[in-house]
Subunit: 429 residues, 2 copies
């Protein structure tokens, strides 16, 4: 953890370092992924079989390539009732929020009778990557699948590695709850390549979403354009802006909630009170030892944590915008004036009683958010990621007579005579 004072000499330099620290994957991953993707494109299921044997340690022909719907239904039926109720609450609230994102078609007719507009349609098929092992989160499955369902995607295909052939019952239960259509026991860059190009067994999809390790993220990046992807994901981060009237233990828990995800996660506190900064630092140290995730949380906090003292919280906001954080908590009594100053953030959590974690699970907005300063240009996952817009144009003879001559002029000036001809012929020229 580094401790900075925005009024101290050298702050600008130290803060620049924090902003530009991308914590990204290296070139080796990129080469490995290109090799894996190429193999799957050329050899299809045979490559999937070989990579799964190598990386996940099981033979797909023995363990089975698919997880059946019946297995998911059984996992759901066997679920602890409290857990099932929590998942259902999450599903219902996430659905309600995302239903408000459905885009409206547009149509307009001008004075010449020229009709223009746009029409939205869902993609035909979406692929969901669900990590295996420690990071197999049913909440992620809900957050990725529900926007696709709300968009109206007809075929939802999940891929997930099952190291040693072992499946995660909680993930299977969530798959039953949201209505996944196919589940394949493959993971890594090879699963992403299979979804993008298709194999004999797995038909190609149009959009691939979902979290994964550096190999999965790099495979999605390399295959962007062959398919649509949700986003280029990097390590996760939170910025908390808090005044001294907050409970230091609450804020410490918020910072640790980010740190416990991964050693590359980043947690940053801005506060206007040096004493409160000390109190939070102490509370983090006390809480961290009590966590089952202490090892990861401590590694992340030590390497990437920061506490920054500013003269006033207003002065923190330009710094926050430079960080363009994935998650931003404004833990003050009246957060709106600070929120009005936010230009770049994935999701904002307003007020003292809105810990980021409640948004991770049950509030409604999506928890798949732009990381690594990408909130400067990118948005969280939404229904729009599973839809596309077709524009349209309709002229009758009168409409074309009104606007066509300008098109002929411009096409001619651009040296495109067939463009000009296609309009001029219809104008009777």
């Amino acid at each position: 953890m580094i401790r900075l004072d925005s009024t101290a000499a050298g702050f600008a330099h130290a803060f620049d370092a924090l902003v530009n620290d991308r914590r990204e994957a290296d070139a080796d991953v990129s080469r490995d992924v290109a090799m894996i993707v190429g193999s799957v494109r050329r050899e299809g299921d045979a490559a999937l079989h070989a990579f799964t044997q190598k990386f996940d340690g099981h033979d797909l022909n023995d363990s089975g390539w698919r997880i059946e719907r019946a297995d998911c239904e059984a996992a759901l039926a066997a679920l602890d009732p409290e857990l099932r109720a929590a998942l259902e609450l999450a599903r219902d609230r996430i659905t309600a929020y995302h239903e408000k994102q459905r885009p409206e078609d547009m149509a307009m007719t001008d004075a010449h009778g020229v009709r223009t507009g746009a029409r939205w349609r869902a993609v035909d098929a979406a692929g969901l990557y669900v990590p295996g092992g420690r990071a197999a989160y049913p909440s992620s499955l809900l957050m990725n699948a529900i926007p696709a369902k709300v968009a109206g995607v007809e075929r939802l295909v999940m891929v997930t590695p099952t190291p040693g052939g072992v499946v995660n019952p909680l993930v299977l239960a969530a798959a039953a709850l949201v209505g996944i259509d196919e589940i394949w026991r493959v993971g890594g860059a090879q699963a992403v390549a299979a979804l993008a190009y298709g194999t004999d067994r797995i038909r190609a999809v149009d959009v691939i979403c979902g979290p994964g390790n550096a190999w999965v993220a790099e495979a999605k990046r390399q295959l962007y354009g062959v398919v649509g992807i949700d986003m280029v994901a990097g390590p996760s981060e939170i910025v908390v802006v808090a005044d001294r009237d907050c409970d230091a233990e609450w804020i410490a828990a918020d910072l640790l909630g980010q740190s416990e995800h991964d050693p590359t996660s980043q947690s940053i506190l801005f506060t206007d009170d040096a004493g409160f900064a000390d109190a939070v630092a102490d509370a983090v140290d006390r809480a961290i030892g009590t966590l089952a995730t202490a090892q990861v949380a401590r590694a992340a906090w030590d390497a990437n944590g920061a506490i920054i003292v500013v003269p006033t919280l207003d002065e923190a906001m330009p710094l926050v915008n430079r960080l363009a954080p994935e998650h931003l908590e404004l833990a003050v009594a009246d957060p709106q004036p600070l929120f009005d100053q936010v230009r770049h953030a994935g999701s904002v959590f307003l007020g003292r009683h809105t810990p980021e974690a409640v948004g991770d699970y049950v509030a409604g907005p999506n928890h798949v958010l732009p990381t690594g300063r990408r909130a400067r240009f990118a948005s969280g996952l939404s229904v729009l990621d599973f839809m596309k817009r077709t524009s349209f144009l309709s002229c009758d003879a009168d409409g074309l007579a009104a606007i066509g001559p300008a098109a002929v002029t411009l096409a001619t000036a651009e040296g495109l005579p067939a463009h000009a001809l296609s309009v001029a012929l219809r104008l009777g020229r």
Copy 2:
């Protein structure tokens, strides 16, 4: 040009070949671009200077790095009045269409008083790539710049190569007309890298859009994630669905309007009348020789043109959806029933008096559209490409009491104790 009959033996195989013919850039381009991008990232302006000397044949320190606003204003003042009026009509109609795309903020409050929503903001800066030489189209500049302006982007930066130091006055005039803030005389992959990473002279932008050759397109693809990009662009294509009541010469001109862009462009006609197919093929052959663009148009038509005869036009529509074309003309008296069957297309041109070229210039909808079957998952350029959404969440103590316990349950089940703790502390547990 290939001629197919959808009822003939071997059609499925031949059509598959047409669908899967991606006409894409090769791996050499990818390696070259990675080298250029790396150089610009490390060496900044020195790399820009060297690459411009090498590829564009002029010394930036002699010709000047920037094109000044005054030069653009002078080009606009010197413009032929008819051309200026055509550009102004285009600007006004494109602006009117894109103003309808501005997204609305969203907010909702549930029965527990939990407030959720989303807020849209423009990106801070956008970079526009404008090709030099033959493909320097003022219409493209309008189509790329206007959505950014409508979104509210404060800094619009144009990059354009000026081979031999020569500028295109029509492009400069268009830049003045839409209000570009900075213009730099650099092009190719090196210009894209400069916009993404920034150099001493050129500050980095958040989104890069605009057409370019294979190197430019590959640079954008490689830098996706460092910045936002409009799309992965490939060769352009049109599909025309026409019955025999169309004028064969009109349809031939429409097909050639696509073919004249580039030798890799593709034009495909579906018709339900073999005699009309013959007439169009003959009309293409007659018209092609009259064009100043004959060489390019003939190369494209010979290599990538197709005429496909189907028993009925309804039967063409599933085939059209498999092609997911960038442009689709439905040249029939009543196009709506066919349009209702379109699932995947960038932009659709309805009826006999709506040549695609009128949409390229003055109708209003954007002409930057997904190519190479990407209309399955991607949309044309819009105001949304220059904006991003920040979601928000606000709970008071009562709201958190209502939904927080489910978050604690799920966080605990996922093995994330600090997540659970951050909620539980606020619940007084």
